[in-house]
């Protein structure tokens, strides 16, 4: 990380820039499509009918609002300086926050008359969430997935197919998430007439980082209301894991102007930030242009993108959302990192103290609490975004702690 910026709460600007970050670095073929999508999004976003419909599905289908749970045993275990609250996104339909975005974007696709939806997926979580929303709304769904990931995530491939989606194997490049994203963008270039691209995180060219942020901001909006009700004040800190960064941006964004609330984004340090095997894009990357936006990127001295590593597939991405890069460069949020081993300890800790198996992604945030809370003054209030449940990860967790299932 090296850039510095002045913090403003009104980003992005009209061209989709968050300070020096963001923008639309895409082939001209996509420019008119993105400009059109932005226009359509603005016209739909504040339409009361659209908002009513979205609220209906979020409540009766996704299961919102999700609880804000006071983790008493975890709070005591970590020294008792802070009351730790867990925002239970793991209780959303399909088991993670991803559905907030896919539900919103699928409704958007329907509104703007695109019968076909495409998506990219790494571990398959976003693919499943997209397939789910498309099944519900009767949209045709095709999901691009790296051949290597298809091999590693057979269960999610089966789930998507069961939900009526077609999974397309991507064999270019490293056959993983970044290549699936390239392929989805190519598909969209050729078929933008009838197709909407539901990107899975706050990444990609404008207006995607803004759209995904807005649909995920329901997490932070609810949190704010719930914490004021419980504590009568705003939290001292919010902690969330960051890969592309949609769950973190979702909970951070409504607190962007509340400077008394410190924001912590937790990246994946993999085997360690000083090795080549990590996904700490902000912690160890440099500003670059990748997947349509300017942001921090893991890259070589020649500006080629390097593959990331994390035990958590959802954090295993060499880029990050431009708004996170902006928060980092302005100092609005702090970005720290947690290794694979620390995340595994985080899983065990939450299981033992609260009876919740967190997703490996969310376990990075748990592990950060272990470091942060003991340094805080007495009577602090901390909210951690528990972005997903860990059922999908039990095999990786077992393998990580040396057990064979």
């Amino acid at each position: 990380m090296q850039a510095t910026e002045t913090y403003r709460t009104t980003v992005p600007d009209a061209r989709g820039h968050f300070g020096i970050f963001g923008g639309r670095y895409v082939p001209e073929t996509l420019m008119p499509v993105l400009i059109e999508l932005e226009k359509q999004y603005y016209s739909v976003k504040d339409d009361p009918e659209f908002q009513k419909e979205l609220r209906y599905y979020l409540r009766d289908y996704v299961g919102r609002p999700t609880p804000l749970f006071l983790a008493e045993r975890l709070s005591r275990e970590l020294g008792g300086n802070a009351r730790i609250y867990l925002k239970r996104e793991d209780l959303c339909h399909t088991g993670a926050h991803k559905i907030n975005n896919t539900m919103g974007q699928a409704l958007l696709a329907k509104r703007i008359g695109k019968p076909r939806v495409i998506a990219e997926t790494g571990a398959g979580q976003h693919g499943v969430a997209t397939a789910t929303a498309c099944a519900l709304l009767d949209l045709q769904c095709e999901v691009y997935m790296g051949a290597e990931d298809i091999e590693r995530q057979k269960l999610n491939v089966f789930r998507m197919e069961l939900l009526g989606a077609k999974v397309i194997s991507v064999t270019s490049g490293t056959s993983t998430l970044k290549d699936a994203t390239n392929e989805a963008m190519r598909d969209w270039m050729a078929r933008c007439d009838d197709t909407h691209y539901i990107i899975g995180s706050v990444v990609g060219p404008h207006p995607f980082p803004m759209i995904v942020r807005d649909f995920q901001a329901v997490i932070g909006d609810e949190t704010k209301e719930q914490i004021l009700e419980r504590e009568g004040r705003l939290p001292d800190a919010i902690v969330a894991c960051v890969g592309g960064g949609s769950n973190a941006m979702g909970i951070f964004y409504p607190f962007r102007a509340d400077l008394e609330t410190a924001l912590y984004g937790v990246e994946a340090a993999g085997f360690g930030i000083h090795t080549t095997q990590h996904a700490a894009t902000i912690g160890a990357g440099q500003v670059g242009v990748f997947h349509g936006a300017k942001s921090y990127v893991l890259q070589t001295d020649d500006g080629q993108i390097t593959p990331a590593h994390s035990i958590s597939a959802g954090l295993d991405y060499p880029g990050t959302g431009p708004e996170h890069s902006y928060y980092a460069a302005t100092g609005r949020a702090q970005y720290v990192s947690i290794t694979d081993d620390e995340a595994l300890e985080g899983v065990k800790l939450l299981c033992r103290t609260e009876g919740i198996i967190p997703a490996l992604e969310s376990a990075h945030a748990v592990a950060q609490l272990v470091k942060l809370v003991p340094t805080m003054p007495k009577d602090s209030v901390v909210v951690m975004n528990l972005s997903g449940r860990g059922d999908k990860d039990v095999f990786s967790i077992a393998k990580g702690i040396g057990m064979n299932l």
Binding site: R15, E28, M31, P32, M189, Q304
Partner: protein, 268 residues
């Protein structure tokens, strides 16, 4: 005078359209690039697009993406490409356009990239993921170095945007003949007439057409409507198929000659 202006002026005089082959630098290996550039010139190339490979190209189809991966695996870097251009420039005046994704140039530093490119004899940059809107951040450095930044226009580009891009263009405009990514296709859209007339109305600059042109018949059709014809994937395919053949460069030269022939006026 930029070599690109000179070439298009001469071609106009002769009533010819330019043949603009695309070649991925470092494909199949770095040693192959200079001899291949010479073959392109012998075959009649008027302007050459030299591809700077990137690990994650979005605009490229499978053929060019594979060639980029191979070029990177063979150790191709931006400085090594500049070294090849320097050698080429010592023996030829054919204009060179560096064609590549923004990040490698951005990471190198756009100002330094433009300066170093100008020093070895590059004439322009074509950066497919840097549309005219974002191009403002690179234009000053490129202009300062005396080079052009070539912009693309797509079939999806609406008329007011065509005007906007043309107003920002330099060197020539590149019209993408099909939606989607690069790659040779069996049929080139014959509905080029109207959009090209629109582009021509918005600019005095020459217009080149690319994406999906691979046969002399297609070149002939497009050459009647535009000042330049780009051939990319079909050429990269040919290089790939003949990577180890002793007569690889000969085949490339002949192919280029066959593509250039229909772009020349009929002589009686």
């Amino acid at each position: 005078m930029n070599r690109i202006d000179k070439v298009f002026a001469e071609l106009k005089e002769r009533g010819e359209a330019a043949l603009i082959p695309y070649l991925t630098a470092g494909f199949p290996n770095l040693e192959a690039t200079l001899p291949l550039l010479r073959a392109l010139v012998r075959g009649g190339a008027d302007v050459i697009e030299l591809g700077v490979p990137f690990s994650d190209p979005v605009a490229d189809g499978p053929t060019i993406q594979r060639s980029s991966s191979e070029a990177l695996a063979a150790g191709t870097t931006f400085p090594k490409i500049l070294e090849i251009v320097k050698q080429f420039r010592a023996e030829s005046e054919t204009p060179i356009v560096l064609f590549g994704a923004y990040n490698p140039f951005f990471h190198y530093g756009m100002e330094k990239a433009a300066r170093d490119a100008a020093t070895v004899g590059v004439d322009a940059f074509l950066i497919p993921d840097l549309p005219a809107d974002e191009g403002t951040e690179a234009e000053p450095a490129i202009r300062e170095a005396g080079l052009y930044l070539i912009y693309l226009i797509a079939p999806t580009t609406p008329p007011d945007r065509v005007k906007f891009i043309c107003s920002r263009g330099s060197g020539f405009l590149y019209y993408i003949s099909v939606k989607g990514v690069t790659g040779a296709r069996t049929s080139v859209s014959l509905e080029l007439e109207k959009p090209l007339a629109q582009v021509h109305a918005a600019t005095k600059l020459p217009v080149a057409v690319g994406f999906g042109i691979g046969t002399p018949e297609q070149a002939a059709q497009v050459g009647r409507l535009a000042e330049g014809v780009v051939v990319g994937s079909a050429l990269v395919d040919l290089v790939g198929k003949n990577r180890d053949a002793a007569d690889r460069d000969q085949k490339v030269e002949e192919y280029i000659r066959s593509m250039k022939a229909p772009l020349k006026p009929l002589t009686v």
